[in-house]
Symmetry: C2
Subunit: 354 residues, 2 copies
Amino acid sequence: MTTSLPISAQTRRPASPLGLHRVVDPPGVLPQAAWRLDPSPAIAPDEVRVRVDRLNLDAASYRQLRETYAGDPDKIRAAVLEIIATRGKMQNPVTGSGGMLTGTVEEVGPDSPLGLASGQRIATLVSLTLTPLLITDALRRWDGQSEQIPCAGHAILFARSIAAVLPDDLPIPLSLAVMDVCGAPALTSRVVKPGHVAVIIGAAGKSGSLSAAAARRAGAAQVIGVVPTETEAALLRGTGAGLVDAIVIADARDPVGLAEKVEQAGGPADVTVVCVDAAGCEGGAILSTKQGGTVIFFSMATSFSAAALGAEGLAADVTMLVGNGYVPGHAEFALDLLRTTGSVRSLFERRVES
Amino acid sequence: MTTSLPISAQTRRPASPLGLHRVVDPPGVLPQAAWRLDPSPAIAPDEVRVRVDRLNLDAASYRQLRETYAGDPDKIRAAVLEIIATRGKMQNPVTGSGGMLTGTVEEVGPDSPLGLASGQRIATLVSLTLTPLLITDALRRWDGQSEQIPCAGHAILFARSIAAVLPDDLPIPLSLAVMDVCGAPALTSRVVKPGHVAVIIGAAGKSGSLSAAAARRAGAAQVIGVVPTETEAALLRGTGAGLVDAIVIADARDPVGLAEKVEQAGGPADVTVVCVDAAGCEGGAILSTKQGGTVIFFSMATSFSAAALGAEGLAADVTMLVGNGYVPGHAEFALDLLRTTGSVRSLFERRVES
């Protein structure tokens, strides 16, 4: 095991697009699985260095720190500093989770494929758990009272990292909220074809409303939005015309009830997109989808075995996709949907305010 | 809640292809989720009645029963009888699992879409957890010493149940072993296109060897088989030429190691099929697959979130499919692969014997 930091960039083996050359301990694992990364500022030809101005800790990570140190700001600050100094990245050793960061591009290696330029304000769309990070201001400006950490330091992006330029025309919290869920509309847009019936489960939420807009833009003949309550339905109706053609109020965990209501509204679906974080929605999504159709699961509450066995038990010949958070161009696509779809923007503005 | 069995077939509401009309308690749920089904013998126009000769309990269910009753055959037999009499199906209330059955088609409703005829010997490919079942011989011939239960009684198949005719030319245990994993080769065959590089993780296993044969038949230019040990590699080599073009011995839970070896063998893959039941293979499968490629997860040990977050963390633009156990014609397709691929048959014969 290597015992001292920093390692000179000159002595490293050739850069790996995945950042394997930055892994110090244990050697040979992926950066996310590593205990310690090398955050030294000298970049490889395909890397990018970012001047960091803010960390946004994962909610679970921040909660763990706050509870462990009984809310004491000095102790929380010291703990985060210690993690970053020890590990060369912000990955809470208890929760395993990270978060994301915003900053300004400082130096771009000549072989970087990310398309970034010095001076651009960006947000990282890969987790802090795999991003080399070095803090230089002792987090002095952070009061420890929220997961938002104003800071100074630098981070390294690899060739296969993902970052998005923060647009000038949108408030940063709004852009970050869009980027957080931008995989869903991008994949929806790939799968929905002109003339399709699309069912969006959780259509009044962030990923759901973007997915509905993406289905519409892909040429869906009928977009059906499923929401759990009249309150959510009113939110969807209140956005004005056009986001969905029909609203179904149903408990997505009740397969028979959901499928019946979806059918009354014009289903079953060619493509069903699951955007609610409730467990137990697999059967309802499958049953609301035509034979030969596709279900895209974007909820992290999805159970792999419930989906696989559910489809088998229903003799449902449906294609089931694991929602991949990465589709090339996903952030730009989602930001454009927000800009051009008034109803999506108004839903996001309500949710980001609250 | 309804309190008495049987309910006369005449008073039921119209038959549902999913069997909702057989659900007694609680009403309105899917048969698998029901506490009690109605197994009365009168069939609806789209149903099929099967004379049952054998139940094959799910391994987890049998183990639970044997442990609870300390291996006492009379108590185990009484417990299974009680479950079937009370629930109208064989679903272990502790494990939630069922199993499958074999039998002979007794009566086929005029509107049944299953294509069965009276007198055919069949196996059900949907779980006992959703199959109405009535036992008439008190399981007298079962010694309680194995999960194989010789018996007499009847079961009901719905329009959307799945059953396969047991072929005359193959031993029944071999046919059942093929049918148990027949979703994997059918879906592999749909996804692999001529010229593709296919990587089969767990290629010496039952679903893996069938998937390798399916990839070959679909026109794969290169089939790479991944196995965990030299013993498994020897098994694969021992089957003679043709099942795979290259064998990789690797720990599929080590993403970097696996991807490097797969690349040396001719990868990365256009299509990677995960057929091993080990946890933690998501990253390796993703990293062994080309950008734009597809990973099919057939392992029940797959973690939905590990797959989704893993792909995002690797900036991997891969399509990830939940392996659906049902594809129309899957049993016939897999049996045909076994018949026509000597190497698959010899692998199965070794595994079914052991």
